[in-house]
């Protein structure tokens, strides 16, 4: 057991009780421990009532996103050593309703994701399980970066627009829409445009860029949104100046 300890200040909220509070826990310090390890220590040895989400512990599942010292982060990827000597403040992701302790309600996020149809849309959909839609490495390269999203919601916690406009579709969902729009195998661009070009879509984004800063997978959702804006403006003027042209 380590002799050194670190203090965790953990956000606590029980919907049936009074308002939120911070509770301090003294946990052992280890060089190779991440914040999630410390939370699990609290859960296992100090206070079993603490609620938080986690799963893979390797930055893949996107479940353990929280505010660590005010910054949205995957707690499985934030080492205690980077915040020594502490205390380390752990809170639920901001801009989301808190269900209990560190657990946020992600239903709104899931609905927004659903709106942008984040899957391949084909006009010639077939039941043939062996059907293939071929793609070159160059075509893959156009959208690959935007396909790395793990839906961890850190970008929503970093986005000040989400904090003011509930209806804003948000960075991850818009980046995902752009990801499929750039995919050479997809034919659903027109269906997504209705959602991403509405007031609560790409035009609500003011390019603060914090979403890209906090993204653990370097997806750059801010970049995806600006690219979608550029494309949208180009399509608009093209339609305006060439009304006779055939629309796909």
């Amino acid at each position: 057991m380590s002799d050194t300890t670190v203090q965790l200040e953990v956000f606590r909220y029980r919907p049936d009780n009074d308002g939120p509070t911070f509770q301090s826990y003294e946990v052992p310090y280890h060089d190779d421990w991440v914040v999630l390890d410390a939370l699990n220590y609290v859960k296992n040895y100090i206070d079993g009532s603490l609620s938080f989400r986690w799963s893979c512990r390797m930055g893949v599942c996107g479940s353990c996103g929280m505010q660590v010292n005010g910054e949205p982060a995957l707690t499985c990827a934030v080492f205690l050593r980077d915040h020594m000597p502490g205390p380390i403040r752990v809170e639920p992701l901001v801009n989301f309703p808190v269900e209990r302790d560190l657990v946020v309600d992600s239903n709104g996020f899931m609905e927004k994701l659903d709106h942008v149809k984040p899957y391949l849309v084909r006009e010639d959909e077939t039941d043939d399980l062996d059907a293939e839609y071929l793609q070159t490495p160059i075509q893959l390269d156009r959208y690959k970066q935007f396909s790395m999203c793990i839906n961890c919601m850190l970008c929503y916690a970093a986005c000040p627009v989400i904090g003011r406009v509930d209806e804003f579709i948000g960075p991850a969902a818009l980046a995902l829409a752009q990801r499929y729009n750039l995919d050479s195998r997809d034919q659903g661009k027109q269906m997504r445009q209705d959602v991403i070009f509405q007031n609560e879509g790409i035009w609500e984004c003011t390019f603060v860029g914090e979403c890209s800063e906090v993204c653990p997978k370097h997806v750059d959702p801010a970049g995806a949104i600006q690219q979608a804006k550029l494309e949208g403006a180009y399509d608009y003027y093209k339609r305006l100046l060439t009304p006779w042209a055939r629309r796909s």
Partner: protein, 131 residues
């Protein structure tokens, strides 16, 4: 009774950390640009009137406090320009004709363009001043 707690950043988001504040300040630079445009439009308006009101307005623009304002506006305009150039690569498509465009190339092109336009303006002003 289930009562999810509302924890949104809200309208004071830009006060919460340095990176937010810098972005807020970047957007606020537009106020200085707007003010300079108004001063310039008024200068043109005065030029269309009698010489006396034009010279009085020109003196007002050269007042030490106004010169400080112009310098602050210039600093903000340059800051906005530089930060805009630096983030431009992520706003542009990553490929042109199937080839990746390096971010440094896009940034460099913008600075080169700014330098070229600035040089032309300086030469034009110098030429007008000499004739």
């Amino acid at each position: 009774m289930n009562r999810p707690l509302d924890r949104r950043l809200g309208w004071t988001w830009w006060t919460l950390k340095g990176s937010y504040f810098r972005i807020f300040l970047r957007e606020a630079t537009s106020a200085f640009i707007l003010a300079e445009i108004v001063f310039f439009m008024l200068l043109i308006h005065k030029a269309g009137q009698d010489a006396e009101s034009y010279l009085a307005y020109r003196d007002f623009l050269w007042h030490p406090l106004m010169v400080v304002f112009h310098l602050v506006a210039l600093a903000f305009a340059l800051w906005h320009t530089i930060t805009f150039f630096l983030i431009a690569p992520s706003a542009l498509p990553s490929q042109v004709a199937g080839r990746r465009i390096p971010a440094a190339f896009i940034i460099g092109q913008q600075f080169a363009g700014l330098a070229a336009v600035s040089l032309l303006v300086i030469l034009w002003v110098a030429w007008v001043g000499a004739t």
